[in-house]
Each structure stands twice: as C-alpha cells, then as structure tokens.
Symmetry: C2
C-alpha cells in the first residue's frame, strides 16, 4: 500500500518491469504487493501484456514503437551511460522503498544479464529479481527466504570476497564462512531445514533460490 506522510507518497514495494525474458504470469506474480510500478523501456510491453498498471516509464524509448501517451515518462537520451534497469533502480531507490522487486532483468541478452547482476552491488536495500522460476535476492545484512525442503539455493558473491557468512537451513552450512567471487563454491546448496536464511557481515552477496515445486 502507498501511504501518505507529510504530503509525500511513500511506496513500500516498488516493482520494476524490465525488457528481458519473462512471462505475463511471472510479471503478475512479481507485481503482488507492488505499490508503484516502473516500466524500464521495453519492459512496458511486458507490463501491458500482463495487464499491469504502469506508474512511470523510464528509458530511452528505443524499444517501443510508440511511447504511451497517458503515463509519466522519464526519458533519457539514446546515448546514455547505463542500462534501462540501472536508470530504473536509481529512480526507485530515490523513493526510499522498503524493497524493490524486478522482473525481466535477465535473459534476452547475455551482456545485459551479467551487467544487471553485477549492478546490484551498487545498492543497499532489499532487492529481489524474478527470473523464470528463480528468485535472486540481494542480501542486505540478513535474509530469510520463503522456501520449502529440497529447494535449490546458490550463494553468489558480488564483492571479490564476502566474509562472516552464517547460514541456517542449508545442507552445506557456513559458520563465519568466506566466499570468493572467482570461485563457484557457493553454487548448488539445498534447503534441508526451515526457516532458511543467511546473514552476512562484510561484502555483497546474491542468494539465488529455485523452488522445486514440491511440498514441505
């Protein structure tokens, strides 16, 4: 819900719909609880297909045949120094939200996929990205995920080193552990207890969660 404090609308959950690969169903799932929806350029098509109300359109409009007439547009020059997702995330951060949800960040172009994942290191608030059944969480201090036994969890460092990692509920636990970005050690862990979560003392970490669709 959007609340009004001192005349300013404060969004609790901001959804960014980007131009990568996502189904309309996944976009609608990501949109649950969203107070404010930003379409990042080509993401507007996805938002439209999913029947989502877009509050703001951000980007250079190079992915749209004809920009919509009836919603606010934050237009950037075509020769800009950032992806549409970075522009949208920067704007979203400015609304001081409790969390940001993103759908369509990955998949259409490998360079965008890698750059958009790395980009998350820039931010310091809870972000979760939906991508074809995967949930990618930026871990800020501590995170518990809504998981079921048997789910897949991978820990992917964004910083060169991530230190002081404590996990609970995972088959291969870490207790004051260290992960290095240039190593694949954190890949393919498994949820074996609930609740399941991670705490990080130093560094930026992604937690990637893939529900296996089974029961608890």
């Amino acid at each position: 819900m959007v609340s009004r404090q001192g005349g300013v609308f404060l969004a609790r959950t901001v959804l960014i719909v980007a131009g990568g690969v996502a189904s309309a169903e996944e976009a609608r799932e990501a949109a649950k609880d969203a107070d404010f929806i930003i379409a990042a350029d080509g993401g507007f098509s996805l938002a439209s297909r999913a029947g989502l109300r877009v509050d703001l359109l951000v980007g250079d409009m190079d992915s749209l045949d004809s920009p919509p007439q009836n919603i606010p547009i934050l237009k950037f020059p075509r020769e800009k120094d950032a992806t549409d997702l970075e522009l949208a995330l920067d704007y979203a951060r400015g609304t001081d939200p409790e969390r940001i949800v993103v759908v369509g960040a990955f998949g259409a172009r490998l360079d965008h996929t890698l750059a958009n994942a790395n980009l998350l290191e820039k931010y310091d608030l809870p972000v979760v990205l939906f991508h074809q059944g995967f949930r990618v969480y930026l871990v800020v201090d501590e995170l518990e995920i809504p998981a079921a036994l048997g789910d897949l969890v991978s820990l992917i460092p964004l910083s060169a080193e991530v230190r002081g990692i404590f996990t609970w509920g995972l088959r291969y636990p870490l207790h004051d552990g260290v992960l290095f970005r240039a190593s694949t050690r954190g890949v393919s862990n498994e949820v074996v207890g609930l609740p399941c979560g991670v705490r990080v003392r130093e560094g930026k970490l992604l937690l990637i969660h893939k529900p296996q669709g089974g029961g608890q």
Copy 2:
C-alpha cells in the same frame, strides 16, 4: 594441432563442452581448431549430439544416465566445492594451452550462468565462451576480435575496477578509461571501425561480442 615436445602432448586450443544451453551446430563451430576436447559432465550429451570426439570427461557424473566406457574420466565426488566448468577449466589450464574455448557455460541455470562468468576472473589466459551467437572473451592484456561493422560489443568488468582501458574501432571509445563492475556503462557499444580491440592495464574484463550477421 597437438604437438609433442619432450614426450608431452601440448594442446594449443582446448575446447570445454559444458552442460548449459547450446545447439549441436554451435558446439561444432566452437570445436574448430580444437586439439583437445573436455566434456564437463552434462556437456558430454551435447558433445555426443554434435558428433565431437571427447578426449576427457570431467565431473561428478550426476548429469549422465550411464557414463561412457571408452574415454578417460576424471571423476569428482558429488559433494564437491565447484561447478563442473570450474573443474574442467582448472584441468585445461594445467595443459598450458594457448587458448581455451567453452561452449555450454551459460543458460540452463541462472546461478550457474552468473557463477561461471564471475569464475573467469580466476584465470589468466585467453578464454572465449560461445553462447547463442554471443562470444564472451576474457581480456588478457590485449585483444582484437574478428568483427564486422555494426556488431554489438559490451565491456563487462570482472574486477571491482578495471583501469587503463584503451579501445579501438568502437563508437564510444575509451582512452585510459575506467569501468566499474557495479555500473552498466560498458554495455551496448558498437563496432564502427576495423580492426576492433581493447587493451587493459589493470583488472579483469570481459568483452562480449554479438555479430549482427551483416557484411563488413
């Protein structure tokens, strides 16, 4: 070609076939000039579909219904601390090759895609990864790519900072430039002159090249 020096076979170009998304045609394209072919676990299926001769199979064999009987296998326990691609790359590096080509590194699982890209920071020799028309190069000192005018090029830092970047042949050139990993500034450059290349003084950089299929 494999050459023999002092009784040791030296591979010039090692191909690693990994278990991600790739067509048989792309695997065969990546296999051109390969002296030695390593299948990383599930990559063996792709190599077989592509009709490639596999010299070594590396992994925990968890992706194969029945491991082949007639080729050498470097078997790791299932509860290992690395992806099959990391194990294969470590082995390949030990053969002291001139370059390593990889196909199937990306696409099947988002966590593998991100971890395998980050992993390249660990290596210090020319690696190129084929992925659905994209070529991902690990830049070691200097690199010129076989490109055509109009091709897409993105520069994706692996290190937190990459310094002393010089490019030639690109629409948005860098001259002693700096790129930060947590920024998408290096995405979506374009080949406007030939030859096209990049030199890096400090840090690890990926160059992602997407031929547009047009002429020169």
